[in-house]
Subunit: 195 residues, 2 copies
């Protein structure tokens, strides 16, 4: 199963490295072998300056990536991204063929801009809830949970909530046992309850 994590300049470091860690660890410890093929995708295939000066090399650009079964759109300084029609159209197009499209933190603004959250419940970083409600009035904004799963679309709260959501996705895509084993391997206290 191909897990594509979309990153961009000023993306929040843990928004992508947390989910990457979850899926790669789950794949490593799964009884069935390499369950997930997790990779980073960005607009251009060149180093991406993430927030705080963390430079990461994407595996693919939006023009040359393999099929994506689970798309995870991360947060950070998302303001340029929501105005970038190439990205919005790409998210929209890729999502037509995903099993799950998810967001971490303010990545929800990108999904909303692509029209993927209309009429659905969703969450974002606590600091951005007011703006989110104001910008996307057709979205039912949920507060004080780690993630919102409405089936094909899953959104998470801020930064580290992306780890909790990714563990939930492992549970949904494989089983609860693998998700719990992954959390234990990561020495992570999986928060499945409300904030």
């Amino acid at each position: 199963m191909n897990i594509g994590i979309y990153i961009y300049p000023e993306a929040e470091v843990m928004d992508f490295s947390g989910p990457f860690e979850v899926f790669s660890t789950a794949s490593r410890i799964a009884d069935s072998g390499n369950t997930f093929n997790v990779f980073l995708v960005s607009e251009h295939c060149q180093p991406v300056p993430a927030r705080g000066g963390f430079s990461v090399n994407p595996h693919y650009s939006i023009f040359n990536h393999p099929p994506i079964d689970v798309l995870i759109v991360v947060g950070g300084v998302h303001t340029q991204q929501v105005k970038n029609q190439t990205i919005i159209e790409w998210v929209k197009a890729v999502s037509q063929n995903t099993k799950i499209t998810a967001s971490v933190c303010t990545g929800a603004f990108i999904l909303a801009e692509a029209g993927l959250l209309a009429g659905l419940s969703a969450i974002t970083h606590w600091e951005d809830l007011a703006d989110f409600k104001q910008d996307y009035t057709t979205v039912t904004v949920v507060e004080s949970v780690r993630w919102v799963d409405v089936g094909k679309i899953v959104t998470s709260a801020g930064i580290s909530a992306g780890i909790d959501m990714s563990l939930h996705l492992v549970s949904r895509l494989v089983n609860l046992q693998l998700a719990q084993k992954t959390a234990r391997q990561m020495d992570y206290d999986w928060r499945t309850t409300t904030l």
Copy 2:
């Protein structure tokens, strides 16, 4: 204050991205402005293939980095590192001038190999505790805590415990309020208690 995070091929992704996120976020939200200058250091100044195929670009090599006030040595597949005398000597030399030298996960094996843990209490990933005790008999191995702070040396348990330890370091280096504010910004449930 310069925070240097030492990374290497097959380093665990969250071992370095977690602490990086903590210090860069703390710096961003601190009232006093840029409190921390956090950077990644590796043996050579070229892309580092971290675990699971995550490629990250270090800011400096071990030969050209600025002075390091806080050195954080990460875990992952550490076996080649403990045999690499250039690295062991570098860790030893840098630590003579640090305020704090810390490890995340199996990074403790590298500190132990450099002789920095002799006669002290320390912790590592739960899966490696038995090997750690056997390899370094002069270390008092602690279990079931998130981190062990013995003053200049601080060691953390597995992977995500590096986030908890880094928040503790922010608390020590600045104050508890900034550490709590950083955890809140990261939507992270700071685990200060035992496992």
